[in-house]
């Protein structure tokens, strides 16, 4: 795969064209309005980071797909019921990683040494017993509920609504009025959220803003040059061409040309960013690879404010293992990846700009099943990472004796955590976005 050099050369040409102030100034006189917008979408040459300015704040969401077993992630080792109900898969007090003297009843899974380091450095907030009323145990439905922040699991994604509110300032959800099409332009230029993976999650789908999604940046581009190299030059001429000012473009033509040009520019940017070497060595595994890419994009000064990464296979119905085994391997990947990510961000000097939040669609039942696995359950812990978090164990573990048909009763509504992220970190109006006023959970320090 040595074709990247060619793309690099092409990208350089593009940057020469649009990146210099002089050309911009003269071009502004003649270029149609939509081309100027594309040019402005490039990051400013100086990087332009101003820590503390809300526009510079970044949120990274890590989705643990399949229903992570919260009870073996943060194990309630001080509770007899835990040991009694999970004889084949429990974490013993000797194996668990202790956290906090005031919370000696819990301990991290032994594979989570990465999280322990983050915890010791004041970069981790743990919220326990997070869920929602009338829990749904279908993967699809419960994932939709988490992603829409609506217990019916319908409507736009919660971060999509955040973007909609930021860019266009209209009411969110199904009842929201779409922005006046054709006429009114969005109030602010926003940089769409980036999701690593073939499909963008519902959480990022808004009405006006659509996420960029790719498994690897190499797939976020036109594949025609691999069909035959001679197609590349004419492609450049046809897709990156400046439209004839006398051509009388229809609104749709102008829109399509602008978006195609934006796509080329952001493809160049992202691929150029990701070609760089990471500042630290990331461990193997898909999540580490995804976070490594995100770190490079942050380092390159992309103005994207929301990134989304996913780690799957948490649906451990059989043979999930205890201190070792399948679930342990997944947790190790998770903890080690986040540790490497923050080490990288610290080296970059960007850690203070990046809040990371992990969640799963549900936890698992308290009792193990007959196949040394666990079935779909309810409440589970959430983690928040970064120097801005109110570090430490934020609340008590939910009761293991007062269960709801064998499941934990949630003690924290996940939307109070979303409200904190939106309100206290992104400086957005969480009530407008979540369509209800939730008291932000105390997870972000005053800033």
């Amino acid at each position: 795969m040595h074709h990247l050099d060619a793309h690099n050369a092409r990208a350089w040409t593009r940057r020469e064209l649009l990146g210099t102030g002089l050309i911009m100034a003269s071009a502004a006189m003649t270029m149609p309005a939509f081309l100027q917008r594309s040019a402005l979408a490039l990051p400013s040459p100086a990087g332009g980071s101003l820590p503390g300015v809300p526009e510079d704040r970044i949120l990274v969401v890590i989705q643990l797909g399949g229903g992570n077993d919260g009870l073996n992630t943060v194990a309630p080792i001080g509770h007899d019921e835990y040991h009694r109900l999970r004889p084949g898969i429990r974490i013993t007090p000797q194996q668990a990683i202790g956290l906090d003297r005031r919370h000696a009843d819990i301990g991290l899974h032994p594979a989570l040494t990465g999280l322990k380091d983050l915890y010791d450095n004041g970069l981790l907030a743990l919220v326990q017993g997070v869920g929602y009323p009338n829990p749904n145990r279908s993967h699809f439905k419960s994932m939709d509920i988490w992603q829409t922040a609506d217990t019916s699991g319908t409507g736009d994604g919660w971060l999509g609504r955040y973007y909609d509110a930021e860019c266009c300032g209209y009411g969110s959800g199904e009842s929201g009025t779409p922005p006046a099409q054709g006429g009114a332009k969005p109030a602010k230029t926003t940089y769409p959220p980036i999701s690593i993976g073939a499909e963008a999650p519902l959480a990022l789908q808004g009405r006006a803003t659509k996420p960029v999604a790719f498994e690897t940046p190499d797939l976020f581009r036109w594949t025609g040059a691999e069909i035959h190299p001679s197609l590349e030059k004419p492609y450049e001429q046809l897709v990156r061409r400046e439209p004839d000012p006398n051509a009388n473009l229809s609104p749709n033509e102008a829109f399509l040309m602008r978006t195609a040009l934006d796509a080329q520019v952001s493809s160049d940017q992202i691929r150029r960013a990701v070609e760089a070497r990471s500042l630290v060595d990331y461990p193997n595994g898909s999540l580490a690879q995804q976070l490594g890419m995100i770190a490079k994009m942050i380092r390159a000064g992309l103005k994207t404010r929301v990134y989304y990464a996913t780690l799957g296979s948490f649906d451990t119905h059989a043979g999930q293992g205890g201190a070792n085994g399948r679930h342990a391997n997944l947790l190790r990947q998770f903890g080690d990846a986040v540790r490497a990510f923050y080490t990288d961000l610290e080296k970059q000097g960007n850690a203070g700009r990046v809040l990371t939040m992990s969640f799963s669609e549900f936890g698992r039942r308290v009792a193990q099943n007959a196949s040394n696995g666990t079935d779909h359950g309810t409440a589970a812990p959430m983690f928040l990472f970064g120097p801005m978090v109110h570090a430490g164990v934020r609340n008590a573990h939910p009761s293991l004796s007062n269960l709801d048909g064998g499941d934990l009763k949630y003690t924290v509504d996940f939307r109070t955590v979303y409200a904190a992220v939106l309100e206290n970190w992104m400086k957005a109006d969480s009530a407008a976005i979540l369509e209800r006023r939730y008291k932000p959970a105390p997870v972000i320090r005053d800033a």
């Binding site: 009405r207 797939l219 036109w222 061409r241 009388n248 229809s250 033509e253 399509l256 978006t259 796509a263």
Partner: protein, 514 residues
């Protein structure tokens, strides 16, 4: 004869609101091509020529009178209806006994069986998706399938929520049965459709505890539009719909759950049921306005694709179509006929000014360019990535359409999908079909080759011909680039060169329009 050639001057003309019939002499290649795209999924050069030679009336009637074109209608037993059947009496008793005994093993067995059935049903849903995409591609009645797609987006119901593939299939048949027929019949049928009743939670709606979901959407999204009813109409409408449920695959009216009290909906008072509710809706002038408006958005100009100055013309056309819909007692066909034959429809500001939906892009590429289908799975996945998964609309609002299809991600997916159809190129590597199914573009050039063999060897003229066919208009800059590409490949226009030219055209932003 073609007098309506596209020139920049046309675009500055004000959009006409005339619904007068387009004269025969103004109906040529460009108009026939436009008709084929909007009332179907595009056509080959040969099909365009045929329709152009027929003239507007015959061409439109051929597309509209779908039942005159022989085509097998889908059989009810085409798919297995029993995968998600309700549990039998014996199964229910067994489950209840197991729960009472707290027999974890038996309960686990029952859960496992249910999970197996759900998996099997998801597989069947994928088969039904393939089946419909195949039909969209093959049908000799393109307008029938296009209107089926229209109703699917209008009465949007998602498998993701109802998890019953056979009900989705049944609903698809309902839409096809009424494709160009009566909206009125469809509205009466939709409140008895198992998929819809499950999707909008009406199956548990009963007296004393009415669920308002169906009543609300029935007015807001399916018939009247926001602002044409009150919250009280929703509450009373929900009462009228209590007891409307289904058993297995059939509608079932449960009189015990129905609210028999007096209600007042949209000014009509009485002991109203669901049918009375629908009748009250159909009495409203707003209903024909709303439906005619949606048909117009779908076939002519989507909101946001015209300039402010042209808005009055659009409003006038919509109002007249609404009047026609009322006069025809909600029959869709005369309304479409009027629109598809009108001067307004063939105005340069309407032609090539619709952003192709993913279905139009995929189906249209295969139908017009005659590419191999290669791999249904890849096509369906690409459609999902482009934002339109058949039977999985994102919400009860359906697909927003228009510019919402296009963003920086979908631009590349759209371009690469075309690369796939034309060459078998996947994002990484090639599909197994690439070797055995090579795309042969020579058929496309047939009309040119047969009339003017010299032209078919001239890169500039081939480029012009292809641009006119694919983008609907000439483009001097693009012609020069394409001709240069052909010249670099020896100057003679070989099939591979034509494929290369098509790859380039399909990557152009303008290719997303129809």
């Amino acid at each position: 004869m073609q007098t309506a050639t596209h020139t920049p001057a046309d675009e500055t003309d004000t959009l006409t609101a005339s619904l007068d019939r387009i004269p025969d002499r103004e109906f040529g290649y460009e108009q026939a091509r436009h008709l084929l795209w909007r009332a179907g999924f595009g056509g080959t050069p040969g099909q365009i020529d045929t329709l152009a030679s027929w003239g507007p009336e015959k061409a439109v009637d051929h597309l509209l009178e779908v039942e005159k074109v022989p085509y097998e209608q889908p059989a009810a037993d085409r798919f297995d209806k029993d995968i998600m059947r309700p549990p039998t009496q014996a199964e229910r008793l067994e489950a209840r006994a197991a729960r009472r005994r707290r027999d974890e093993d038996a309960l686990a067995r029952i859960r496992l069986l249910r999970q197996q059935r759900q998996r099997q049903d998801r597989r069947q849903m994928a088969e039904i998706q393939r089946w419909w995409l195949q039909r969209l591609i093959e049908s000799p009645r393109p307008l029938e399938e296009k209107m089926t797609l229209f109703w699917h987006g209008h009465f949007a119901t998602s498998y993701r929520t109802i998890e019953n593939s056979y009900h989705m299939y049944q609903q698809n048949q309902l839409f096809r049965r009424h494709a160009v027929g009566s909206y009125k019949a469809l509205l009466y049928a939709i409140i008895r459709d198992p998929a819809m009743l499950a999707y909008l939670d009406n199956n548990d709606s009963r007296v004393g505890k009415p669920n308002e979901n169906l009543a609300r959407e029935l007015m807001e999204l399916f018939s009247l539009g926001v602002g044409n009813y009150t919250e009280k109409d929703i509450k009373e409408g929900a009462r009228a719909l209590t007891g409307y449920t289904f058993e297995d695959d059939e509608f079932f009216f449960n009189p015990d759950n129905h609210d028999k009290g007096s209600k007042q909906i949209l000014g009509v008072r009485g002991n109203l049921d669901g049918e009375d509710f629908v009748a009250a809706i159909l009495q409203q002038k707003a209903c024909a306005r709303f439906i005619a408006g949606k048909l117009y958005d779908f076939f002519a100009l989507h909101p946001g694709s015209f300039e402010h100055d042209d808005a009055p013309a659009v409003t006038r056309v919509k109002a007249r179509l609404a009047g026609l819909l009322r006069k025809s007692d909600y029959n869709v066909r005369p309304v479409l006929r009027k629109l598809l034959l009108s001067r307004h429809f063939y105005h340069p500001k309407v032609i090539n000014n619709r952003i192709k939906s993913p279905a139009e892009l995929v189906v249209g590429a295969v139908r017009s360019l005659n590419t191999p289908v290669r791999d249904m799975g890849v096509l369906l996945q690409a459609m999902e990535l482009m934002g339109q998964s058949l039977f999985f609309p994102p919400s009860v609002k359906g697909w927003d359409g228009g510019r919402s299809w296009i963003n920086t991600s979908t631009v590349f997916i759209r371009q690469n999908l075309m690369n796939f159809l034309l060459t078998g190129r996947l994002p990484v590597g090639y599909d197994s079909s690439a070797k055995k199914e090579k795309y042969d573009p020579s058929g496309l050039l047939e009309p040119l080759t047969s009339t003017d063999p010299a032209a078919a060897r001239d890169p500039e003229r081939v480029a012009d011909y292809l641009l006119r066919f694919t983008l609907g208009k000439p483009d001097g800059q693009a012609r020069a680039v394409l001709a240069e590409f052909a010249n670099e490949h020896g100057g003679t226009v070989k099939p591979d060169t034509v494929t290369g030219m098509l790859l380039l055209i399909a990557a152009m932003p303008e290719y997303q329009l129809c």
